[in-house]
Symmetry: C2
Subunit: 259 residues, 2 copies
């Protein structure tokens, strides 16, 4: 039985990088109160033990269709979750939902207007990785998605170049994938032009999972194969240092007392 | 009674932007298992209802002394928390702890070497703000601390200029403070040189608190007074748009079908 008189909702929630201990209470409550969950197959799989939820898994790159289906079901009065890993607002499903809303025709808009939409943040991969490494993002930094699926490679290269000139630490999402293996290699070429050979590059793979690996390498020793689709790469700024097993970027920059 | 034979710990934890619902389970567990909590007065105040904790509040700008005191207490076998708001790795206490470790003399190092140190991520202000606004950070973005307390104003201005040329969305932390009111004004001057007058600027104040306010303004209508020390400012990129009450940045950029 669908409750067509009840106002439906779409909660776009972030599941964090993997470990349940990194969920927020807010996201736990949203999961407990939902009737349906949409998302990329491995994310809905994380909720497969919860009997109260109808799971709607879909493939990667079907983000817009997934968002439309979720809005349609919410319009029928269901309490719908849209699952992202990490934070839904960082290279994840939140933008896709708003793109679909923005491109909706009058008929869809009339159907969706009553849906209560909200976004609930989660621990995004770069911040989970940074915490495990120490504090490599403790000064100004940027986040760049290296996939050229939705933007030209030239834009990515130019952004890395300008970010290096600004001396931002950088977090690279989607450094490469099976279908697009060359993203991280292209980024490396730019880094080698712009940065000193000793620049610290951190590879954090499957952060918070049982098989998590962390690796810190100087730029001159980096190999393209060190990053795969489950890796977040963090590039230090020119001041990033190691102390013991930790990597950190000092808070101060270019002033007396800073390094 | 202090347990000098037990290995002490220092957990650098993020409390999120304010609402308890944005705490992670991991941070809740760390709080439950701790004996002492250090931090800026308002952050330790958040834990004042917990009888099992000895609270050690200190003033702003006393980060290094606070980190040293916490390490010293942990070296005595205590379970010590270092509290940050948001995420400890983003313009917060994690870097200060590693700076103190890095600058330690042999005597301090000998005392601190047995302390189990870790960092536990939290929801940082810009991602909490982005979720409330929609998805303004859904494409490549950067985070810049506008305080010139620890870096020269010229470095900040240059970074904003390069970030605008890279067409990053930007999150500004500490846009101004009582002692340094001019940070956001300086940033505005650079934005007005580099960006079109219609650029969307979001002001998110006291996110997740009862008195949260959100405001979205075109660059041409921004006044410096719109930001204070409790505000995170999010600057859209050239593609950032509004749909209904939401602000979002499309995932695609500079390719057919993107705006």
């Amino acid at each position: 039985m669908t409750h067509t008189t009840q106002r439906g909702s779409l909660r776009v929630v972030g599941l964090g990088p993997g470990a349940d201990a990194l969920l927020t209470d807010s996201v736990r409550s949203a999961i407990a109160g939902a009737t349906d969950a949409f998302g990329y197959f491995p994310y809905v799989e994380r909720l497969s033990g919860l009997g109260h939820l109808t799971l709607h898994g879909s493939d990667n790159r079907e983000e817009l269709g997934r968002a439309r289906s979720a809005l349609n079901l919410a319009a029928q009065g269901r309490k719908v979750l849209m699952l992202s890993s990490g934070d839904p607002g960082v290279f994840a499903m939140a933008s896709a939902v708003f793109e679909v809303l923005d491109e909706a025709g009058p008929e869809e808009l009339a159907r969706w207007v009553a849906v209560d939409i909200d976004v609930q943040p989660g621990i995004t991969a770069m911040l989970a990785a940074a915490a495990r490494l120490g504090a490599p993002l403790g000064h100004d930094f940027c986040a760049i998605n290296l996939s050229d699926n939705l933007k030209p490679a030239a834009v990515i290269e130019r952004r890395i170049q300008l970010a290096a000139q600004a001396d931002f630490a950088m977090a690279f999402y989607n450094p490469c994938s099976k279908s697009r293996p060359e993203g991280f290699e292209r980024a490396l070429r730019v880094l080698r032009q712009e940065c000193e050979p000793q620049r610290l590059i951190c590879f954090a793979r499957n952060v918070s999972h049982a098989d998590e690996t962390l690796r810190v390498v100087q730029l001159q020793d980096v190999q393209a194969e060190m990053a795969d689709m489950r890796t977040v790469v963090i590039v230090g700024n020119s001041q990033t240092r190691q102390v013991g097993r930790y990597v950190y970027t000092p808070r101060s920059y270019g002033v007396a007392g800073s390094r």
